[in-house]
């Protein structure tokens, strides 16, 4: 069912596939700044832009796991910096709930991560992607990954 062209090698040279939800005003800007500063990072992550981290519905996160994401990153503005007053405070609450469900499902906790990254923190964004990618490489593919998806 996949039309991805990545070879089916789950052992050596396996690259995790990660979904990052980013808010338009901060963490998406952070990813842009990483580009502007040419902060190199593993090509593991695909970004989904939302206006505010508060938009990230736990269902989107579960969906990403069900589609084969090896990790899902929830990112937004630093607390206090949300462009919509307090969207990220609400994100924090939803994230607690997400964490507990992910644990119950038996997924390693490294596969779900929360980070606040401002629009100027390009290097932080790149380092975050590098760190998560390393961690997930050690864990291997997600147990929820459907058959056939790499």
């Amino acid at each position: 069912m996949s039309e991805s062209t990545v070879p089916q090698a789950k052992t050596n040279g396996w690259e995790p596939k990660i979904v990052a939800f980013c808010c338009n005003w901060c963490s998406y800007g952070g990813a842009d700044s990483a580009g502007m500063g040419r902060f190199q990072q593993p090509a593991s992550t695909r970004i989904i832009r939302v206006m505010c981290s508060g938009r990230i519905d736990p269902l989107h996160v579960f969906n990403a796991f069900l589609e084969g994401a090896d990790a899902v990153l929830v990112t937004g503005c630093h607390i206090g910096d949300c462009h919509y007053v307090n969207g990220n405070d609400k994100t924090k609450i939803k994230y607690k709930y997400l964490e507990s469900v992910v644990q119950q499902l038996g997924i390693e906790k490294e596969r779900l991560q929360l980070n606040w990254i401002s629009a100027s923190e390009g290097e932080k964004f790149a380092n975050f992607i590098r760190d998560v990618t390393e961690q997930i490489k050690k864990l291997g593919p997600s147990p929820l990954k459907p058959e056939g998806v790499v």
Partner: protein
């Protein structure tokens, strides 16, 4: 006779363009005039901009397109002003429009003529490093995209031979018979923005400017550019080989009275650092040295950039000005310089020499000045006063940008906006009389079936150098509902906007995906293009394959290409589910709030009020005047009271300004156009309503505790000195030592405070003139930039002693003895001082934190407010309707703060000039059938947008009353928090609906679902 609601802007560089856009957006007709064939000026020639290394073309290109598309802006290019008559409010301009020999309305810019033209000419855009044809387009993204025949080199026009361009032009645009033509314009005001021309190094033969490997900083800029003669590879012109040793020589044509150029050009140090960093990024093996007198890294973020150059990129800085470039018997170039560490004269062999050429006034400035009756100063700048930086001696004629004095891009942009505010204030009664509304074609109804177009951008080599663009184009064609996919060199260029429109029309597309850079800068451009194509702008989707892909996977071409395909797939998946969105209109409170009653806040308030809008001016102190109240003299020798007293008087007596002193903004709600605030004057509350807010809260002088024994009786700050000079010293000093950078450019405060060097020499001169004392200035780099270099010269000639110390060995103060390790002598010097003056930096007030919270606007690392864009949006926050100016943004001189204040006023007036504004289209809507009236959204929303209302539900046989949520479109900001909390999924934030996000997530693993 009434005034004319139109403005002529002479010079279409970034200053002129910015003025034009602000005036046109504010309801004035604009004629944007340039002698060149295209708009964009010098900025369009740059590769990147300091200190953020933004790609210059990428950020300026949208502005070029916007200016050329604006219904209220007429571009009058390739034209010279021949005469001006009339007075303020009513000028008549005569222009001569040179023949392009190409009909502007027929030329499609296809470029076939260029391909076939046999005549080659040095290319000005590439600073003479490559050739163009006699028929040409100035540069690939040139606006307007119309060819021009260079009459001096055209074989047909010179010898009546050839004629090939006419033969191959299918559009019949070439016209050898075209004649120069006269144009007459009636305008109410004139803005002069004729910029600069790079200094011609031929005047300095000792630097061997004709040697092929001795190039100017402008030429090096082109070499570094992906669109330049070497496609961005650092190669030397003589043999096309990669150089190893590169030397920059600073101040070529600056700080040199022998050739009549004694001013500092302000930008060359940063330009050299920037070019050195980019060169190192291109080729990490390069060994780069910058020979300088001082490194003048004085702007926001510049000092930090300079330290990165040293620490991260290993760029060497040598404080020595080599007197010449020499070539040895083997033909190798070298320079001779003084090594201060070893106290020796040394030679350094170099493969490539870059001459950092200064900014000369452009040749047309002199002609225009005499035509317009404008005074020029000794450097050839249009004369202005510190308190009126944008006004000339001729009423109704304003000046902005480098024509007024050397400056960098953000200062130029601020001045461009500022000049617009001045012109519009003059013509305020004529606002809206000569303009047309931009009318977009009527949106066509779109069929159910998506038909998606994809354009994948090379961005020069920014994307194409890493990602296999043709492969991504081909891949996109395989995705569901994609009916067309193609590549573009620059998707954002004007010709590609036209291309997109044509594609949409010809292929009957109803969705469009551009895979290029970031929606944060370019989304609107493409959305407007869709509007031009009669499509709803929200049927556009961005795939960011530059910032998020090619730039961060530069060494992994295959993976980057795969990722680009994934990103495009996700974009296409979402675009399948896009729907047309519409906006609504809300009224605007046409009043401004200005916070801060210093020189910037007062200027801004006056400019807004003079434009016809009421202003609340709020100052937390009891008196207006801000930091300037503590300064007693100005750089030009006047008293500061000369400017502050009349300003306060004008503010206090203005019928449209209401001043609140001893007052703070305590509460704030609402949004652009509709803010509501509570002012607190020592417990008394005032409720106010306003449409825009300007933050002009200024800065304070650091109390330099902990530096150089500050606190001892004989140690004061520059502001204390100002006061003593005005009101008398306790005991007149005999030996004064000033220590620069006291608390600045140190790890705990890494920035340069920009103004202290000018302040110190100003005060040193005053001490010299008014007392008998000797004065020593201990400095790291003397940053008396721009025209204020003249104060540095004057101070030296009056006998002020300047001693350079290094970061590693700062001076030591013990009682009244200052010991400094002088770098020039290479030895310790002890100075007995009875007065030690610390040049302490400006620091951001702690209260900025509260204000930042109220307005939800960001601050930088140093506590100053952070503007929306370091280069092109210096006086705006990312949040619409909230602006900033003056030292609240960063330390700056008085005239710079005033220019910014006028700039912020222009931005405020653009918003206030409309009775109603359009709401966002991307707001949340409730599906009442799914809503269970639980009220979670009401609790979650910080903007009070959703409300529960009782509605009658008609369910099959039963009719009952139930609570349902409704979202006020004027209050909703589209964050989507409500949707993520709604238990039944009844709320959809438009543009980010659950099915759209789900589609992107599905496409992540490879599946593109098509809507049923």
């Amino acid at each position: 006779m009434g005034k004319v609601g139109a403005v002529a802007i002479i010079g279409a560089g970034i200053a002129g363009i910015q003025s034009a856009l602000d005036l046109a957006d504010g309801g004035f007709k604009v004629y944007l005039i340039d002698s060149k064939t295209t708009i964009g000026g010098r900025m369009a020639q740059l590769d990147k901009t300091f200190p953020t290394l933004d790609c210059a073309m990428c950020i300026v290109s949208p502005k070029l397109v916007e200016a050329s598309r604006h219904p209220n802006i007429d571009l009058i290019l390739y034209s010279d002003v021949t005469s001006v008559s009339g007075t303020e409010g009513n000028f008549k301009l005569k222009l001569l429009k040179k023949a392009r020999y190409v009909e502007e309305d027929k030329c499609t810019g296809c470029g076939i003529c260029v391909e076939k033209c046999p005549s080659k000419v040095p290319d000005e855009y590439n600073a003479g490093l490559s050739k163009r044809k006699a028929i040409y387009l100035a540069f690939p993204q040139a606006v307007p995209r119309v060819m021009t025949i260079d009459a001096a080199h055209c074989l047909y026009l010179t010898k009546e031979k050839c004629g090939v361009c006419k033969k191959v032009c299918a559009a019949g645009a070439v016209n050898y018979e075209q004649k120069d033509r006269e144009i007459e314009l009636d305008v109410g005001s004139i803005i002069l923005a004729t910029g600069f021309t790079p200094f011609d190094p031929l005047l300095l033969k000792q630097y061997k400017p004709t040697h092929p490997d001795v190039i100017t900083s402008m030429q090096f800029e082109r070499i570094l550019s992906a669109s330049g003669p070497t496609q961005g590879h650092v190669l030397r012109p003589s043999d096309g080989k990669a150089p190893k040793y590169i030397g920059f020589i600073q101040c070529i044509g600056s700080r040199n009275p022998h050739i009549g150029r004694s001013r500092c050009s302000s930008v060359c140090c940063m330009q050299a650092i920037k070019e050195a960093i980019i060169a190192r990024e291109h080729d990490p093996n390069l060994d780069i040295t910058i020979f300088n007198i001082d490194i003048r890294a004085f702007g926001k973020g510049f000092e930090e950039f300079y330290s990165r150059a040293k620490k991260e990129f290993g760029i060497k800085f040598i404080t020595s000005r080599p007197p010449e470039v020499q070539v040895d018997s083997a033909g190798k170039m070298f320079v001779r310089y003084e090594d201060l560490n070893e106290g020796k004269i040394k030679n350094m062999p170099l493969d490539l020499v870059v001459l950092s050429v200064g900014l000369d006034p452009s040749p047309e400035t002199k002609k225009l000045a005499s035509m317009l009756g404008l005074d020029l100063d000794e450097f050839g700048n249009v004369t202005s006063l510190i308190d009126h930086p944008l006004e000339t001696n001729a009423p109704g004629i304003h000046a902005c940008g480098v024509v007024q004095g050397p400056k960098d891009i953000p200062d130029t942009v601020a001045q461009g906006s500022g000049a617009a505010a001045k012109a519009s204030a003059l013509l305020a009664t004529e606002r809206g009389t000569l303009i047309k509304e931009k009318i977009y074609p009527k949106e066509k109804a779109i069929p159910e079936q998506p038909r998606i177009g994809v354009m994948v951008c090379h961005c020069g080599i920014n994307i194409g150098g890493v990602v296999n663009v043709p492969a991504v184009v081909e891949y996109a064609k395989t995705l569901p509902n994609v009916v067309h996919s193609e590549e573009a060199i620059y998707a954002c260029s004007k010709d590609n906007q036209e291309k997109i429109i044509t594609l949409i029309q010809e292929k009957n597309l109803n969705r469009f995906v551009v895979a290029s850079c970031t929606p944060r800068t370019h989304e609107q451009l493409f959305q407007n293009t869709l509007k031009d194509a009669a499509l709803n702008p929200y049927l556009f989707e961005f795939a960011n394959i530059r910032e998020h892909c090619s730039w961060v996977h530069m060494n992994e071409k295959e993976k980057a290409t795969q990722k680009a395909k994934d990103i495009v797939r996700m974009g296409v998946a979402k675009s399948n589910l896009l729907a047309p969105l519409s906006t609504s209109k809300v009224p605007v409170t046409q009043t401004a709030l200005v916070i801060g009653g210093g020189i910037a806040g007062m200027t801004c308030a006056l400019d807004i009020a003079n434009n016809g809008f009421p202003v609340f001016l709020v100052e937390k102190e009891e008196k207006l005047g801000g930091l300037l109240r503590h300064v007693t003299s100005l750089e030009d020798g006047r008293r500061s009271s000369d400017i502050i007293t009349p300003l306060i008087r004008n503010v206090m007596s203005h019928p449209r300004i209401q001043v609140f002193t001893g007052t703070q903004l305590a509460e704030l709600k609402g949004y652009v156009g509709n803010f509501e605030g509570t002012l607190d004057t020592k417990g008394t509350k005032h409720e106010i309503k306003f449409g825009v807010a300007v933050i002009a809260t200024g800065a304070n002088e650091l109390v330099p505790s902990g530096y150089y024994n500050y606190g001892a009786r004989n140690i004061i700050t520059q502001l204390n000195l100002e006061n003593a000079l005005e009101n008398g010293f306790e005991k007149p000093p005999e030996n004064v030592v000033m220590i620069q950078c006291a608390g600045a450019r140190v790890p705990e405060r890494p920035y340069c405070s920009r103004t202290c060097c000018v302040e110190a020499v100003k005060n040193a001169i005053r001490i010299k003139k008014e007392t008998k004392a000797s004065v020593y200035v201990l400095y790291r780099d003397m940053r008396t930039y721009g025209v204020w270099e003249k104060l540095y010269r004057e101070a030296s000639s009056l006998g002020v002693v300047f001693l350079r110390y290094s970061e590693e060995k700062p001076p030591v103060v013990k009682d009244s003895t200052v010991t400094v390790h002088d770098l020039l002598i290479g030895d310790d010097i002890e100075i007995e001082a009875d007065l030690i003056v610390l040049s302490a930096p400006m620091v951001a007030p702690a209260s900025n934190v509260e204000l930042a919270k109220l307005f939800k606007v960001p601050m930088d690392k140093n506590g100053f407010f952070l503007e929306a864009h370091a280069k092109l949006r210096p006086v705006e926050f990312a949040t619409t309707g909230v602006l900033l100016c003056g030292t609240a943004q960063a330390p700056k001189l008085i005239d710079e703060g005033i220019a910014q204040a006028s700039g912020a006023a222009a931005k405020a007036c653009v918003l206030l000039s409309k009775v109603e504004m359009e709401t966002d289209a991307m707001i949340a809507v409730v599906d009442e059938k799914l809503c269970i009236g639980c009220g979670t959204c009401v609790k979650v929303c910080p903007f009070n947008a959703p409300q529960l209302i009782e509605v009658e539900v008609n369910a099959e046989e039963v009719v009952y009353l139930a609570k349902k949520s409704r979202i006020n479109p004027a209050m909703c900001k589209g964050c989507g928090s409500c949707a993520a909390s709604c238990p039944t999924g009844a709320i959809s934030p438009r543009g980010f609906t659950a099915p759209q996000i789900k589609a992107a997530v599905r496409a992540f693993s490879g599946i593109v679902e098509v809507p049923s």
